[in-house]
């Protein structure tokens, strides 16, 4: 099988997700996760916006210090709203989720750092390349393919 590990020549992918995104995916997207990942934990060639380690550090600090005025909070909530808006969920469910995201307390935004086992993922599951060189997207990750290495 042509796996992502073979194709990208790296055994693992790394991604940062917040608890609320995972929870929404569990409840409404059948435990299937849409994730951007890079093949390094700290891909120095990527910008900060697609560096899993930097995102984790930022979000972790923001949540632990209850820094609700930090730009990351607004950015994350906007991204979650846009994700839900662009999905196939009904308008009523979408509106309910938007309300939920907007009123989510800070702990709901706590980050998880994921290690994705690329050796069992077929290359055809990559659906997008990102803005930076080491940035790839999967839309159909399942729990068994992910290890939470920090939260």
């Amino acid at each position: 099988m042509s796996t992502l590990a073979k194709h990208l020549n790296q055994p693992y992918g790394y991604s940062c997700q917040c608890w609320l995104a995972v929870d929404i995916a569990n409840r409404f997207f059948n435990y299937t996760y849409r994730a951007w990942f890079s093949t390094e934990l700290n891909p120095v060639g990527n910008g900060f916006s697609s560096n899993p380690l930097v995102i984790f550090e930022d979000l972790d600090k923001v949540v632990k210090t209850n820094d609700f005025n930090h730009g990351r909070v607004d950015q994350l909530k906007t991204r979650l709203c846009n994700w839900v808006l662009g999905s196939s969920l009904s308008p009523v469910r979408t509106a309910n989720l938007i309300s939920e995201i907007m009123s989510a307390p800070m702990p709901a935004l706590r980050p998880q750092l994921w290690k994705i086992d690329l050796s069992n993922i077929h290359v055809s599951r990559i659906v997008n390349l990102g803005q930076f060189y080491n940035e790839y997207q999967l839309r159909d990750l399942v729990r068994q393919e992910i290890e939470v290495i920090a939260q």
């Binding site: 042509s2 194709h7 846009n82 994700w83 808006l85 999905s87 907007m102 997008n128």
Partner: protein
Amino acid sequence: MSDMAAQKAKLFGLLGLRALFEHDRAEFERVADLSRKDLDRAIRSLIDETKDEEAPSVLDEIQEIVQGTDNAGQAGYLLRQIQQVSLRKAQQLALLVPPISNSDEYIENSNRDDIRVSQREFPAGLIDGQQEVTRLAVMAILRRLPSYSAKFNFRIDNRELDALIEPDDSSSNLPVVVVETKSRLVDLGRIEQAMLQLKRNMKPFGQHAIGILLSGVVRPNFRLEGQNIFLLRYNIETNALDYEQFSAISTAVLGRESYQRSKRPNI
């Protein structure tokens, strides 16, 4: 009343996404899986359903800015404003919608929809060797054509194309690329047959379309006559495209200078 508020919330949210698509494509792709066509279709359908008077003018405004503003910085600023205002409006409208009960049936239904989508897009176990070559090679091609996106097993006029590679900005003058994969392209008769098939597949996309005949095994030292159909050898073991063959394709698609700018190392 609450259904209408929900539909309007979704409508304005999608208008925000439409503005985001125009001013920050990378961010749009990080958050949404919709193509521009699907997005426009969803917006139009919600405008028809809600009969909202403001939404069409927001959509027109987005299009006017995209088409009429020469200053990219100014256009970006204006589109960002529209994106933010539209999302805020969606959020305000969402607050008017009472929560629906978390019935198991509802959750099950929404889950089922998404399973259907993912099964349609990723037919597990149905990827044969030829499709694998197509997908791997197209990934390698996209690395060098960063302003393009690919669709696999694309259906048009009762035909199925192995892959269609389209410019993200459909209003640009960049050509679409139609890919036809064959297990071997050695025998001259087979090559000719494959070319005819590819030409038929390219027809709906007009005379500027570029065609690629892709294979892991290609007749050595063989070049196709003509300006818009190219042979391309892809080595699945090393994940490498034939450099010379791909240079000719890239030049035809982007032009010589653009190719140098877009050249990126192998993955």
